[in-house]
């Protein structure tokens, strides 16, 4: 499936946004017993002796902290679009396992329109694709609250529909909140016996909940991709048999007003096929497979795909043709 990522308002690098925003949990795991024993040596006359103290133990209590970060800086949409997703990351910044309640809202001030929550409106990014995909599991409060170990995180998608009445350049905000199931409150508030191993659970500096807000940006420009394929088998024919080569050609065309900034073309290598190294081209210009100065790359993480940075596209840019080849396994 061909996928576009467009950063319309902010020219930036999509992957940079993914790499940053790492939350760091506190160190010592909740429930850990820390023992302290001192030793003294001394002499009485000619006799030297050593004495060990009583062990003093302190137990690490559980701290409740959660950080929510937006992973998609800006989501370009068209009026009337349905099931538009924003990707968030919910990280347990505490020091013990904790379940989190997730809620979303799109009734937020300071924007031009309120996106309409889809039903369901929160999904786990189960397949880690960053998109809403058929395999993604809907979130049901109280039923599949994410249980995260210290430092662990989960990708969460907030899904909205875009009203038809919105205009070009309008912005609509939507936010995701994660709250520790044990409890929230002001920093330092204590939940007796609620922590790991019956320790006290103490609300951390995030006050036990976290929120992040994303934005939809209505864009008059839309990108269309037309994909075609030709098959060449090793016997001079066109049968799609193992060993046959499939040459793909995708033509990307911008229509409408405005410009799409930092357009990223991404296309997954189909299952049961293998990318043919060195076959990626943009407008007949060869692109190297490595992640380097030129616009294209072939990557296997998180899954095999080709990516091409198309830069700023307007209707004046004309059609952009991307080609690459695979062989059938």
């Amino acid at each position: 499936m061909v996928h576009f990522s467009r950063l319309l308002a902010v020219a930036g690098v999509f992957s940079l946004a993914l790499a940053s925003n790492q939350a760091h949990a506190v160190g010592a795991p909740a429930g850990t017993n820390i023992d302290n024993t001192a030793v003294v040596t001394y002499s009485v006359g000619t006799v030297t002796a050593t004495t060990t103290s009583n062990p003093t133990t302190v137990t690490v209590a559980e701290i409740l902290d959660v950080v929510v970060t937006l992973q998609t800086p800006n989501v370009p949409v068209v009026p009337g679009a349905t099931q538009q997703e924003m990707l968030y990351r919910v990280t347990n910044a505490g020091n013990g396992p904790e379940a989190f309640l997730l809620t979303m809202t799109s009734a937020i001030g300071g924007d031009d329109f309120d996106p309409t929550a889809a039903a369901p409106s929160i999904y786990f990014d189960t397949d880690a694709s960053g998109d809403l995909s058929p395999g993604d599991v809907p979130y049901v409060a109280g039923s599949n609250d994410p249980l995260l170990n210290a430092d662990a995180f989960v990708g969460v998608l907030v899904v909205n529909d875009i009203p038809t009445s919105v205009g070009d350049g309008d912005r609509g905000r939507s936010s995701l909140t994660a709250a520790a199931r044990t409890g929230t409150g002001t920093a330092g508030f204590e939940y007796a016996g609620a922590g790991v191993g019956g320790t006290v659970a103490v609300v951390g500096t995030t006050e036990g909940d976290g929120v992040a807000t994303g934005e939809y940006l209505v864009s008059g420009i839309s990108l269309d991709a037309a994909k075609s394929a030709t098959v060449a088998d090793q016997f001079g024919g066109t049968r799609p048999i193992p060993g046959a080569r499939i040459n793909y050609s995708i033509v990307v065309t911008a229509t409408g007003s405005g410009s799409a900034i930092s357009t990223l073309f991404s296309d997954a290598i189909p299952a049961n096929t293998t990318y043919v190294p060195g076959t990626l081209t943009l407008n007949s210009v060869s692109l190297s497979d490595g992640t380097d100065a030129d616009a294209g790359e072939f990557t296997t993480t998180p899954s095999a795909r080709v990516r091409v940075q198309l830069g700023t596209l307007t209707t004046a840019s004309g059609p952009q043709t991307i080609q690459f080849a695979v062989t059938i396994n």
Binding site: A38, V47, V60
Partner: protein, 162 residues
């Protein structure tokens, strides 16, 4: 035969005396540690003051005040008193927090080589640099004078739970 047995008995008695002396010396100092946290309380005058309370359960980021006390419970003075306390696991020593009246305080990374504050070094990739607070794992208090019967010596430091 008879003489031989006598010798054996005498040797056994001498051995008992030695072990008694040893046992007495062993028990001459009682060593105690406490782990406490500062808590803010309001006193009779309505002022906020800080008191030390038993730590028990602490959350990361908390500063724990560790105190080690040596008490001479014998009728003889003890000499060369050296108290050693590791910086507990998962904790980082607060720089400049170690105190001990009448003691020379030294620090160590490996528990073998001890040096005064600021003089402890670490060799990394062939280069020598000052030890960082989180690398200090042992604190040692060496009493400058004898600990008299009934007297006590105290060492204290603060460490933050990571």
């Amino acid at each position: 035969m008879f003489k031989g047995t006598m010798k054996f008995v005498i040797a056994a008695i001498a051995c008992t005396f030695a072990s008694q002396a040893f046992a007495q010396a062993q028990n001459c100092i009682e060593l105690k540690t406490t782990g406490q946290v500062e808590k803010e309380v309001v006193n009779d005058k309505g002022e906020k003051t800080k008191v030390l309370a038993e730590a028990g359960k602490v959350v990361p980021g908390t500063e724990v005040v560790w105190t080690v006390t040596a008490n001479n419970v014998c009728k003889q003075a003890t000499d060369g008193v050296v108290m050693t306390n590791p910086v507990p696991e998962h904790m980082t020593l607060v720089t400049g927090s170690a105190i001990g009246p009448g003691s020379d305080i030294t620090f160590s990374v490996d528990g073998k080589q001890f040096a005064p504050a600021g003089q402890l070094t670490v060799t990394e990739n062939g280069a020598t640099r000052p030890a960082r607070a989180e690398e200090i794992r042992h604190i040692r208090w060496q009493l400058k004078s004898s600990l008299q019967p009934g007297a006590s010596a105290m060492g204290r430091f603060r460490a933050v739970l990571n």
